[in-house]
């Protein structure tokens, strides 16, 4: 295996890891605050990608500047997160917070099934491919390898921005402190006068927007096919679980690990590339059942 192949795999892994990090961090954030694993999370990813692709097609059809596709990605992420995510939280999830975890899982699973059908109904089953964002920036030559700037710079850049700003907000701002407090102990936080309902809604919208943003970025480099949401739900869960559910920075490390592992597998044993993320997850959980960056929790009898 040549040095170039390894470099290529590393670049692929970085780009892929950055993209799945965005989705996984949303899942993790939502779990931290709402204590719900949203099985429909991958649907936000898929719908975000489709909405961004539709915007790109609209921009191309109207003859507007193709540079508008970038703000359109952010716009579609916010749109999906706020409208769809908000509707889901207010309309459905809010009614099931008191119920058992199994029931909560079943409800989000049902939502996932419904959203899968809706994607097919709205965008059809034929694949979409949008090349405007990728083509605009061209490629860069690294050690004799031509690599697209979009995948090398833009995607990891946005992931880093999300990570840093999330870290800043959670550590330094009043809102972030409140979210951290709710994550830590919902009941005490509520007793201190935190309006948990509002925080839940806000967190869910933000988490869903991250997933949709990951999808929007993916729409620039991968073709969109039905069923992409299912794979992403499981992958982002694998990342969040490897890191420890609710760990934000840990998700970045786990996403990078899994991204690199997967892209190495793509070059060495392409049949098994889907296996690698889960293999990493199983290995980590075998030794650290709560995830890499988990904190010890006291058991309540």
């Amino acid at each position: 295996m040549s040095i170039q192949t390894i470099l290529l795999a590393a670049l692929d892994g970085l780009s892929y890891g950055a993209q799945v990090f965005l989705v996984a961090v949303g899942l993790s954030l939502i779990f931290g605050v709402l204590r719900i694993v949203n099985v429909a999370h991958g649907s936000f990813y898929a719908i975000g990608a489709y909405v961004a692709a539709s915007f790109s097609l609209l921009i191309a059809a109207e003859g507007w500047s193709p540079w508008l596709t970038y703000p359109a990605m952010i716009l579609s992420a916010c749109l999906v997160g706020i409208v769809l995510g908000g509707a889901l939280e207010v309309g459905l999830l809010r009614r099931i917070y008191g119920k058992e975890q199994v029931l909560q899982l079943l409800v989000t699973f049902a939502v996932f099934m419904i959203l899968e059908d809706m994607q097919k109904a709205v965008w059809g089953v034929s694949p979409y491919f949008i090349d405007a964002p990728l083509g605009l920036l061209g490629t860069v030559n690294i050690l004799g390898i031509n690599y697209s700037i979009y995948q090398l710079v833009i995607v990891p850049f946005f992931a880093a921005v999300v990570l840093v700003s999330l870290r800043y907000v959670l550590r330094r701002t009043r809102l972030g402190r409140i979210v951290t407090a709710v994550t830590d102990d919902r009941e005490i936080a509520a007793a201190m006068g935190v309006d948990a309902t509002r925080i839940y809604l806000l967190t869910f919208m933000i988490g869903a927007s991250f997933a949709a943003f990951g999808g929007a970025l993916a729409s620039g480099s991968t073709s969109l096919v039905p069923g992409m949401g299912a794979g992403m739900t499981i992958l982002s869960f694998a990342i969040a679980a490897t890191a420890g559910l609710g760990r934000i920075e840990g998700a970045a490390v786990a996403a990078l690990m899994i991204g690199l592992g997967r892209s190495l597998a793509v070059y060495m044993a392409p049949e098994f590339d889907v296996l690698v993320p889960y293999l990493i997850m199983f290995l980590v959980l075998l030794f650290k059942p709560q995830g890499l960056f988990s904190v010890q929790q006291t058991r309540k009898v």
Binding site: D117, G231, F272, V274, Y278
Partner: protein, 311 residues
């Protein structure tokens, strides 16, 4: 005979008459009974308050085991192939169970989902071994030593499936009433107290997991023989989701409910699904939400208080 088995025996006797009166329902009923075994697998886990979104894996294992054995031209009888399918599924579950049963709730459901999706991808990608997305054809095996024509084979497969389903129903009822089965309810309600009694919750769940996988494997093996074809979709999350859905629909804790639910489900799929084929999952999803939100009393087995959160 114990009185609690009477409804089951009566149902089996009535069912045995149906193909004689309405012959065109034979295959549909066979499929419904076979799917009912997979639903029963979910019901066993629901006793412990756990749900698996990945039982398609064990269903597919049973089905592909039969497909490979038939392809290998060992000329095994259907009555040998079916238990073998269950056995292989159970062995995989015993091995994977060492990992899976350490987890509860969210993690248990999602880890099962993850492993089944890995299996799905491998079945699809390892084209030379598994036939890829096209799946494999399963030639009609002998049944009870005889090589039967299509109509006779279908009829006798129905009776074989009915007998297997009745046996499975009986055994699962006995198992759930045994100390090991009762311990499952304790895993659901308060596992810590169970452990203070000196019983390992993980072990109790491991046994249930293996039994549950064997049921799903037998179910897949029957479907492979009846359909004459297996495909990677057997391991896809939609299939696993359907099992869970039927288990909830049929009234979660109930052995007979598993089969009744799968009969209703199969009938609806055969007739109503043609009207709204594109919205099949939406229909399932909406009914699932409706049951959970508005008819929670139907979910007797799921209503429990769990304060403890374990990953």
């Amino acid at each position: 005979m114990r009185p609690e088995f009477l409804p089951g025996v009566a149902a089996a006797l009535v069912l045995a008459l149906v193909p004689l009166l309405v012959p065109w329902t034979t295959v549909m009923l066979t499929i419904a009974l076979a799917i009912g075994l997979s639903v029963l697998a979910i019901v066993v886990l629901l006793r412990a308050g756990q749900v698996s979104f990945g039982h398609g894996l064990y269903y597919a294992t049973g089905a592909y085991t039969v497909a490979f054995l038939v392809k290998a031209r060992l000329s095994l009888d259907a009555l040998i192939l079916i238990p073998l399918g269950g056995l292989v599924a159970m062995l995989i579950a015993v091995a994977f169970g060492f990992f899976a049963v350490r987890y509860r709730d969210i993690f248990f459901a999602m880890i099962n989902l993850a492993i089944s999706m890995v299996a799905f991808s491998l079945l699809e990608k390892l084209y030379h071994i598994t036939g890829g997305g096209d799946g494999m054809n399963v030639a009609r095996p002998t049944l009870g030593g005889g090589r039967l024509d299509r109509a006779a084979f279908e009829a006798w497969m129905f009776y074989a499936t009915l007998a297997i389903a009745a046996l499975a129903g009986l055994l699962v009822t006995r198992y759930l009433a045994s100390p090991l089965g009762r311990a499952l309810e304790a895993v659901k309600s308060n596992e810590m107290r169970l452990e203070y009694l000196g019983v390992s919750g993980n072990h109790v769940l491991h046994v249930a997991y293996a039994i549950s996988a064997a049921l799903a494997g037998v179910s897949g093996a029957i479907i492979a023989i009846v359909n004459g074809h297996v495909a990677p979709e057997f391991a896809y999350w939609v299939r696993s989701g359907e099992f869970v859905f039927i288990a909830i629909l049929g009234g979660a804790g109930n052995v007979l409910g598993a089969f009744a639910g799968s009969m209703v489900f199969e009938a609806i799929r055969n007739h109503a699904a043609a009207l709204a084929a594109d919205y099949w999952q939406t229909t399932l999803g909406l009914s699932l939400i409706a049951i959970i939100m508005f008819a929670p009393d139907g979910l007797t087995q799921l209503r429990f208080k769990r304060n403890k959160t374990r990953p």
